[in-house]
């Protein structure tokens, strides 16, 4: 009975399911058991780096620091027992065998993630939050919210559509479908732009497991790097007795944490408990040396009992520090990268509508999104706002608009407008990139301003009845005014925008019947950006 491994697997599966449940319930009316922002408030990389970049203590940072404190006590339990991406990587790599690796290879792989972390930290110090790019929680949440859940729900819906077309909607199948729809399936929120790219990146992370188990966690993950720092002080330790039954090899390790001499790198151990069972010649267990039984210290073969505290410190890995050359390299890399202007923010989201490039009219941000600089610093691209948006209007920006704004939310009125009384996006934002507002405040928050293209408007250019935009305008005084005119004996109403009243919600653009281009369009002009 591999009790410890079973316990770990149960823990991994439970947390993965919990993670999916929390994101699944990130939808109107947002009444899940756990608030979706908690997934990120417990992520120290996101919270600390965003706080540093924003020069502000973001609510929840303390909570995430408690995860680091737990790591000091237990080691990297998060990576092995909780991290949903780690669980997916383990599941993906379950079919391969652990290859025998030697210290030389692992010593090269392990520190890479520290450079990644260092680069993120340096960017943060210079006021740029770049933790979003490689944070595992964000990668996982984005995949689940924008790819997995829409895929599952739209496929279930499709199957029901076929069945209902065949058997009618008034039987048991129709009833089941309609009750699922109002409980767990939800309606409408199924489309996200370029979700194939999000899927591809996620698949690539799983695929590198074929080269080496947990390669992502060993070598790249910046959250893992942060936890590996704290784990160096971990009180829970692996103790191995190598002389009990002989044996010249070493236990296989999915993290490459076990060294050739069977001691281990505490900072790389994720407590997966494999080595307790996988190499019988060595007696391995995890214990608290502070409370060690006095007898143990007096055993005659003490020399063969390896304890991390003695063996792992003076190595050239995380514990040993880095050379001056490498330090300079780490320091210079972000600066050199900046030289490419890869995270240039000049051209994007210009509210005045004077930008150029792929979106010259600018980007319509969610209601009460902070000013563009702070917004980009705080936004971790987790996808909560897009998942929760009831009209499916919030879409991830494509890489087309540049790295700096990639996957940040944009309101696309063609796919969905901003529901006038809804405040869900701000309510689910874990870092406050979208300000949290009350419903009363929301009603006057401007996302932009609509304007009417009279050259294609049905009433202006076609002299026909329409008024669809005016009818849908949610402002009770109507931000779209109608002017009655008689053209050729026909009475028509021609719309115009009252810019002072317009909040730029985009319902007019969403419902406008002209195709392919809508006659009424919203631009981020005069938007409110706190």
């Amino acid at each position: 009975m591999k009790k410890l491994i079973i316990a770990r697997r149960v823990s991994q599966a439970s947390f993965l399911l919990l993670f999916i449940y929390v994101l699944w319930s990130t939808t109107y009316p947002l009444k899940g058991l756990i608030h979706p922002e908690m997934l990120f408030k417990t992520d120290p990389l996101i919270m600390i780096m965003t706080s540093i970049a924003e020069r502000a203590l973001i609510a929840g940072t303390i909570l995430s620091v408690s995860m680091l404190i737990l790591t000091i006590i237990l080691g990297r339990f998060f990576c092995g027992w909780i991290c949903p991406l780690g669980t997916m990587i383990d599941a993906g790599g379950a079919f391969g065998k652990i290859k025998r690796e030697n210290d030389r290879l692992n010593d090269k792989i392990h520190p890479v993630k520290l450079y990644v972390l260092a680069a993120i930290l340096i960017f943060a110090v210079f006021g740029r939050q770049e933790a979003w790019l490689l944070d595992p929680i964000v990668l996982m949440a984005r995949f689940i919210s924008l790819v997995l859940i829409p895929f599952v729900t739209s496929n279930i819906t499709f199957i029901f559509e076929l069945l209902i077309r065949k058997f009618g909607s008034q039987g048991a199948i129709g009833d089941l479908y309609h009750s699922l729809q109002s409980s767990v399936l939800g309606i409408k929120v199924t489309y996200f732009a370029h979700s194939w790219l999000i899927l591809s990146i996620f698949a690539a992370i799983l695929a590198v497991t074929a080269l080496m188990k947990r390669l992502w966690c060993r070598g790249l993950c910046p959250l893992g790097a942060l936890y590996s720092f704290a784990a160096r002080f971990s009180m829970l330790r692996r103790v191995v007795d190598i002389s009990a039954k002989g044996g010249t090899g070493k236990a296989p390790c999915r993290m490459g944490a076990i060294k050739d001499d069977s001691s281990y790198k505490k900072s790389e151990c994720i407590l997966c408990m494999d080595c307790v069972y996988s190499y019988p010649p060595h007696l391995t267990r995890f214990s608290w040396p502070l409370f060690r039984h006095p007898e143990e210290n007096q055993r005659p073969d003490e020399g063969s009992i390896l304890d991390s505290s003695a063996a792992s410190r003076p190595q050239n890995d995380a514990g040993g520090g880095i050379s001056r050359k490498k330090f300079l390299f780490v320091l210079l890399t972000p600066l050199l990268l900046s030289g490419f202007k890869f995270n240039e923010r000049k051209e994007i989201g210009k509210p005045e509508g004077q930008g150029h490039g792929p979106k010259p009219e600018g980007i319509i941000r969610p209601p009460a999104a902070l000013n563009e600089d702070d917004f980009l610093n705080r936004c971790v691209r987790c996808g909560n706002c897009m998942k929760v948006c009831p009209t499916n209007g919030l879409q991830p920006l494509s890489p087309e608009t540049g790295y700096a704004s990639m996957w940040t939310p944009e309101l696309v009125p063609e796919t969905g407008y901003c529901e006038y009384k809804c405040t869900l996006c701000g309510n689910t934002c874990p870092t406050g990139a979208i300000k949290r507002v009350t419903q009363a405040e929301k009603l006057s928050i401007k996302l932009g301003t609509a304007s009417i293209d009279r050259s294609i408007c049905i009433a202006w250019a076609g002299n026909k009845e329409c008024i669809v935009c005016e009818e849908h305008c949610p402002i009770y005084e109507k931000a779209i005014k109608l002017k009655e005119e008689v053209v050729g004996g026909v009475r028509i109403f021609r719309p115009s925008i009252d810019e002072a009243l317009c909040v730029g919600c985009g319902i007019c653009q969403n419902k406008c019947p002209t195709r392919p281009v809508r006659a009424v369009r919203v631009s981020p002009r005069n938007s409110y950006r706190p």
Partner: protein
């Protein structure tokens, strides 16, 4: 793992299997499509059920009681709903507004109709609408979902993909328009609009309320709306029309939002002729019925009357 070699035989097998799968799937879809497109009139024929009066107008402070009185005055719900009937109650649930803001049908009116339908022996009472705002919010905030569920009705989000192309026996701009199948395939259609202002139609009453069973890009119906609504009413032939004029929206319709625009009329109108019911409702709003293009069109075509003076109307206070 033993991998199967891709020989010519295997390749052909794979192709055949793929083709068979495609053919089966295609047949399935084709059957479904064929069932949906038969020729000739495919709407709901007029059953010709008449009430004891042409219209019953009930006034009172409680919309539930007024509705019961109005329908009872017509001759009772059992005249429209037979045992084991599937009943569709079609309120206006278009907007993310509360009942007080008078943009959606009063939930109490819907509740009364559900209760009466079940008492008359209905097997199933469906309640849905194709909404303008987000359906989840409108169903909740209109108060209709909660009360209809409580009363045992089958309240669900309209399947706007499950449609049938409309076909009238005459030429119509609405021909081929996608209409919700569930709205056509019911034994009794009860249309329950709210009376309110509308900038294009003048007022939106029962004929305009039928836009809520249309799929597709509904904005396009607005061009030549009078003719289209008349044809749509001729296609659906609701057995019973109950106009909710308990609270009415005087201005800034059809969405409203300000209580200043709302007026209490405390009136429920029930009738079998949707045109007459609309005409009476228009009068309540001091509007000449013939100024509403859909009423004018329906009267000209001769399938309804707007002559309130000649109608046999029962007033219940």
């Amino acid at each position: 793992m033993a991998t199967k070699k891709l020989t010519r035989k295997n390749f052909l097998k794979m192709c055949l299997a793929g083709l068979a799968g495609l053919a089966l799937g295609g047949k399935f879809l084709k059957d479904a499509a064929a069932a949906a497109t038969s020729s000739g009139f495919n709407g709901r024929p007029n059953k010709g059920i008449k009430g004891d009066y042409d219209l019953v107008v009930a006034k009172g402070l409680d919309p539930y009681i007024s509705t019961v009185k109005a329908v009872t005055g017509l001759g009772g719900m059992s005249r429209f709903v037979k045992k084991n009937d599937v009943v569709l109650i079609k309120p206006n649930i278009g907007w993310d507004r509360s009942p007080e803001q008078a943009a959606n049908t009063n939930p109490q009116v819907v509740a009364a109709l559900i209760d009466m339908s079940f008492q008359a022996g209905a097997k199933r009472v469906n309640v849905f609408d194709v909404t303008c705002n987000d359906a989840k919010r409108t169903y909740d905030n209109s108060g209709i979902r909660a009360i209809a569920k409580e009363k045992g009705a089958n309240v669900y989000f309209a399947d706007d993909w499950n449609t049938v192309p409309m076909k009238l026996s005459y030429d119509s701009p609405m021909n081929e328009w996608p209409i919700l199948k569930d709205a056509i395939e019911c034994d009794t259609f009860i249309n329950v609009p709210i009376l309110k202002h509308h900038s294009l139609a003048g007022l939106t009453i029962s004929m305009k309320n039928l836009m809520g069973i249309c799929g597709g890009d509904r904005g396009r119906i607005h061009n030549g709306i009078g003719r289209k609504l008349a044809d749509l009413t001729d296609f659906i032939n609701p057995e019973l029309t109950v106009v909710d004029a308990y609270r009415v929206l005087l201005r800034h319709g059809p969405v409203g939002g300000s209580l200043d625009d709302v007026k209490r009329l405390d009136t429920i109108i029930a009738g079998t002729d949707p045109v007459l019911a609309d005409a009476y409702a228009a009068k309540l709003m001091d509007t000449d019925p013939m100024s509403l293009s859909c009423i004018k069109e329906a009267v000209a075509r001769g399938f309804g009357s707007a002559d309130i003076d000649k109608a046999n109307i029962l007033n219940i206070a």
